[in-house]
Symmetry: C2
Subunit: 239 residues, 2 copies
Amino acid sequence: MRGRYYCDRCAVREVSLCSEVSEAAAKELAPIAHHRRIPVGQVIQSDHQGLGWLAIIVSGVVKLVKAQKDGRLQIVGLQYPADFVGHPYATKHALIAEATTQLELCCFSRTAFENIMRNHPSLEQALYRRALNDLETAREWMFLLGRKTAREKVASLLVSIATRITRPIPGVAGDKLTLHFDLPLSRNEIADSLGLTIETVSREFRYLKTAGIVSTSGRRSITVSKPDVLQALAEGDCT
Amino acid sequence: MRGRYYCDRCAVREVSLCSEVSEAAAKELAPIAHHRRIPVGQVIQSDHQGLGWLAIIVSGVVKLVKAQKDGRLQIVGLQYPADFVGHPYATKHALIAEATTQLELCCFSRTAFENIMRNHPSLEQALYRRALNDLETAREWMFLLGRKTAREKVASLLVSIATRITRPIPGVAGDKLTLHFDLPLSRNEIADSLGLTIETVSREFRYLKTAGIVSTSGRRSITVSKPDVLQALAEGDCT
DNA sequence: CGTCCACTTGATGGGCATCAACCGAAGTGG
DNA sequence: CCACTTCGGTTGATGCCCATCAAGTGGACG
C-alpha cells in the first residue's frame, strides 16, 4: 500500500506542482514523498481524518463532497491527476474527499511539507496559483448549478471530464472528431455533481445517445462522436 | 475620487490583510495605498479592465458576476469590508466585479503590490489563506445552488449577509435576539445570487414576513426578529 | 441459474419559472 | 402643483422542467 516514491518514474512530473517550484524545493520534496494506492470508494479525508498528510494525484480521480445531516450531497470538486489534495494550514476538513476510481497518490507528511514551504516561497506560490485555479473552477461550476438546465449540465460535465482525461482514439485523425474515455463517476456521482437526480441524468444520456452525439458501452465507457455539438449544448445553444 | 490612503484612520485595519502580514510588509504597503470612492453600480473589474490595480474593501459590498452571452447571470461571490478584490498574477478577469453599494477602496498598483509580495512571503501567505477561504465559501454556495430549495436559499443568504454586516440593534440586549441591517443587494441581485427569479425571491420574502421571522421597511432595510428560526430554515429543518 | 446492484424507463406531481398585471415611490416636465 | 413616466418590487395565473415514486432491465458474480 505504501512505499517510497520515485520521482524519476513519476507519470505527472511535468504537469504537477513539482514542475512549478524551484529546483531546490523539488529536491527537498522528493525524499519525503511516499507512494500510496487507494481502492475505489475509500474516503481519504473527512472531518478530522487524513489531516496528517497532503498528496498529489498520480492517477485516478478524487471527488470532494459536501454533505448535510439530512443526507443531501453535493460534489463540489473533482481532482484529476497532477492535482493537489489537501490544504496546508487547514486544521480541519470541511469536505469529504473520496476516491471515485482506483488511485495512485504521491503523499507528503503535512508537517514536513509545511516546513519546506516555509523555506521555499516558490512552493507556496505554486499552491496559491492552484488555489486560484480551483476557485475559478468552483465559480464556473456555480454558474452551472444556478443557471443551467439539466441538458446543459450533463453536456458541460462531459465536456469538462473529456478535456481532463480524454485520450485520442487510436487510428482516427484529429483529436476533435471523436473522443473516447471512461467516466470516472457513477450515475449517482454525476447526479451529485450537477445537482440533479440519477433519473434525470439517465434521461439526458438517452437524449444524447438518440441524438447521435455520444455512444456508450458498459456503464463507464463513453465515446463522443460530435464534440462540437456537445460543446454547443453545454453552452446553451439550444439547437 | 482618489487620494493617498491614511492607514492610521483605516476602518478595517485590524481585520484586513494588513493585520495578517509582517510589520515590514505593512510598512511597505502603506505608502503605495490609494483611497478611492466608487458609486453604486460601477464595474470595477471586467475582462481586461481594472487589471492595473488590486484593492482592499474599506466599506461597501462588491459582487462577482459570471455572465453568459445569452444574458444569464450568476453572482459567484460577495466581497465585504476587509476583503480583497483582484488576484495577483492574473492576466485577465474571468468575472465582472461591480459595486452593489457605494464603495470605499484602498487600492494598490498591481505591479507595486507584486513587487512587495516577492520580498515578503507573509503577504503571499495571507493572500493564499484568503483564497482558501474564498474557495470554502464558494463550495458552501455550490451546495446551496445545487441542493437547497428556494426557501432555504433565501434564508441562507440572509443569514450569510447578517453574519457579515449586521450591527446590533441599539437598546436591545443580546445580539442574537434581533438583527437589523440594510441589504446590500437588490431583489434582482438576490435572485442572481441564489439561482432564482425575482418573483420567487419576492414570494419567499413574503413568507418570511407573514411567518413573523423578518420584517422590512423600504426596499433595503430588514430586521430579523427570529434569527434562530431563520437559521433553522437555512439548514432545511422544515418546520 | 438466481441474486444483486447500478442503471433505465415510465407515470405522476410539485416547485419554481414564466407571463402578465399591479403597486408605490421617486422623479420629470408642463 | 399635479399628471405622467419610470423603475424596482409585488402579486396572481399558468405551465414546464425536473423530482419523486415505481417498475423493469441487464450485466456481474457466486
